[in-house]
């Protein structure tokens, strides 16, 4: 009744002064749009980071060799990561994690440890190797995986076979290539490459021959390098094969990933792992020790960081909302002065102070909510464009939309109250006499 009437009057007022209404709303539009855009970008990044890390396995622990802290001060955080110490000496082979350590570790915690994942890249991301065949070239990266990794990863094999025990132990020069590579070099004919030897030329000009045993299905990564129609795909080889190329065959590892069983509590197990290695193998090491961190806690830290940045940026954007609110208040004061006589008339016709106040608060809320809704659309658009430019999928945050609408209503009430109250308290005689 009175409420719908007020909204209709407010809308008619906005329509009568379109330019003025738009300019008034602009502050709210910009404020809400920037908050929504920031939330959308932040949300999308959180989702991507999480799914990437989830892909690496949320049940994972990363176990790596770290420098010992040189001073007594505790510079470590709870993961055992060491951020503040000075440099003692370069890492030597005896500082690394040996195969024997891993074997006894796996034996000791056979209930908790499902896999120990080890991979070793021959090429780095930015300078891949090449395979040239039939006059065409495909970019590839030689990466070695241990047996656990292959089991854990469970890549779809489209043709041929995976690696067998012998391949792993002997580090045979066998490989699996991606279907993308087969598409590019052999027009998709998998039989043309299976059982053949292919020659891989490394960026330094050296070349290696591999016997192709299988073709796996390429899955695009979240963080893609190179053109998407001609991606750099992995040439998967047994771990020892890659280590031989790198001349690491008899050396230890800097870093391994441990996949725990479903029932293991990673938060406590991560400490157990650290203590096990440090007590048994690193107690006499003067410079290095083992640090372990769970993917879970890393993910948590990352998410907190992203949301902190998000909140901080939103607060800055929110300042423009306050400025916008002041603009609304200003225009409401103008509008009330212009309509003094109308207010007087309404009072003469029986409007109470409360109904006058409600009328003008409604008007200010209507301005803010319309501005807010326009802002939401702009914000979503802006956020989506930004996220798409970064090459990710956009994830609009629904909660931020709800909050934005509620917040613009609150701004309308807050900044509308003072002018509305001023209108309500007008003396009807003075208001009627106003010209």
């Amino acid at each position: 009744m009175l409420f719908t009437e007020n909204v209709l009057v407010a809308l008619a007022g906005l329509k009568a002064n379109i330019m003025r209404s738009l300019l008034t709303m602009l502050g709210i539009i910009i404020g809400i749009a920037s908050v929504i855009a920031i939330m959308t970008v932040g949300n999308s990044i959180t989702l991507i980071v999480n799914s990437t890390m989830q892909g690496l396995g949320a049940n994972n622990l990363q176990v790596g060799v770290m420098q010992k802290s040189t001073d007594d001060k505790d510079d470590k955080d709870d993961s055992g990561m060491n951020y503040g110490s000075g440099y003692v000496r370069e890492m030597r082979d005896e500082d690394k994690i040996s195969k024997d350590m891993l074997l006894s570790f796996k034996e000791e915690f056979s209930d908790d440890v499902k896999y120990i994942l080890i991979d070793e890249s021959v090429d780095d991301y930015y300078s891949p190797s090449k395979v040239t065949e039939n006059g065409k070239t495909a970019k590839t990266r030689i990466v070695g995986y241990n047996r656990d990794y292959m089991e854990f990863n469970d890549k779809e094999i489209l043709a041929g076979r995976g690696f067998i025990q012998q391949d792993f132990t002997e580090g045979k020069a066998v490989c699996m290539v991606s279907d993308k590579l087969v598409d590019r070099l052999y027009k998709g004919n998998k039989d043309a490459v299976l059982g053949k030897e292919i020659e891989v030329t490394r960026p330094d000009g050296s070349f290696y021959d591999f016997y192709v045993v299988g073709v796996y299905e390429y899955v695009a990564e979240q963080f893609t390098f190179g053109e998407s129609d001609n991606p750099t795909t992995e040439l998967m080889v047994p771990l020892n094969c890659a280590r031989r190329i790198n001349h690491n065959l008899n050396k230890g590892f800097d870093y391994v990933m441990v996949v725990t069983s479903v029932n293991t509590d990673n938060n406590t197990f991560v400490k157990t792992v650290r203590d096990y290695f440090n007590v048994n193998f690193y107690s006499r090491n003067d410079a290095y020790e083992i640090a372990a961190i769970s993917m879970d806690s890393m993910m948590e830290k990352m998410n907190t960081m992203i949301s902190m940045i998000q909140v901080a940026l939103s607060v800055i954007a929110g300042i423009s909302l306050v400025v916008g609110g002041i603009g609304v208040m200003n225009i409401m004061l103008v509008s009330i002065t212009e309509r003094t006589k109308e207010i007087g008339t309404r009072k003469a016709l029986g409007a109470t102070n409360a109904s006058i106040r409600l009328q003008f608060i409604t008007e200010s809320v209507v301005i803010c909510v319309i501005g807010g809704i326009i802002g939401i659309f702009f914000g979503i658009g802006l956020g989506m464009v930004a996220v798409k430019l970064m090459g990710y999928d956009a994830a609009v945050s629904v909660s931020s939309i709800v909050i934005a609408v509620a917040f613009s209503m609150a701004i309308g009430i807050f900044f509308g109250y003072y002018p509305a109250n001023k209108a309500a308290k007008l003396n009807p005689i003075d208001a009627l006499r106003y010209e």
Partner: protein, 242 residues
């Protein structure tokens, strides 16, 4: 108090404080009453205090001293929101400058007092249409005030004044902004409301000529009543017959 008295003013004083100790008294103890169904005019030059008196009669202001009873209700004791309700239900204002709400249609303007009275949408729209029909504004009821002529606006204003079937219609120089022909039409509407519907009407004007059309003339000068006389109006029918 007699049953048939609509408004009764006893020893009404009104002072304005223009900074202590300067008290400026505008009305010096007025006494008069208006009967139900009476058409009364209050005449005075500008500065005579008639606007102040109108504000008091219209429950827009309270007297400094004295008693004012409107349709059995003590005005000087009423609180602000009670005054709002009184204005809404008991008084129908007609202003010299029409005071229609801009940007809303004639129909919505007539609905407004009923809306403040809490009447339902369907009911008030129906009544507003009926009232506009009485002032022959049906064909213009969806027009906004700036699309109406002065006479049309005043007819809408009269319909609006009648919205909650008030105890009195309080008209402040209703023809002041109109040419004489249109003014005549407006005055005829008042006469019709008075004669056909038995409305109590208080007309405030500076024009002795116009006041002659009412049953009783109260003349105000310098804040005091200096005379009461009867008008020489003989009724619409006689005029039309002549």
């Amino acid at each position: 108090m007699a049953e048939n008295i609509m408004l009764d003013l006893r020893n009404i004083h009104k002072s304005f404080f223009i900074g202590t100790p300067n008290e400026f008294e505008v009305l010096h103890g007025l006494n008069f009453s208006v009967n139900k169904g009476e058409f009364v005019s209050i005449v005075g030059q500008s500065g005579s205090g008639k606007s102040t008196l109108m504000n008091i009669i219209g429950a827009l202001d309270r007297p400094t001293a004295g008693e004012y009873t409107l349709d059995g209700v003590d005005i000087e004791k009423a609180k602000d929101h009670e005054l709002s309700a009184l204005r809404n239900k008991k008084i129908g204002f007609v202003f010299q400058t029409y005071n229609l709400i801009a940007r809303t249609t004639a129909l919505k303007n007539v609905e407004l007092p009923m809306m403040y009275a809490g009447m339902g949408r369907v009911e008030r729209t129906e009544r507003a249409k009926m009232l506009l029909e009485q002032v022959e504004m049906t064909d213009r009821m969806l027009h906004k005030p700036d699309e109406l002529s002065g006479g049309q606006k005043q007819r809408v204003a009269i319909a609006r004044a009648m919205a909650n079937d008030p105890a009195i219609i309080l008209a402040d120089e209703p023809t002041g902004a109109l040419d004489s022909a249109t003014g005549r039409l407006i005055m005829d509407i008042f006469h019709r409301l008075h004669e056909e519907q038995g409305k109590t009407i208080v007309l405030i004007t500076h024009s002795p000529e116009l006041s002659q059309e009412t049953q009783r003339i109260i003349t105000l000068k310098d804040g005091s009543i200096i005379g009461e006389s009867t008008g020489n109006w003989n009724g619409l029918k006689e005029k039309e017959g002549a």
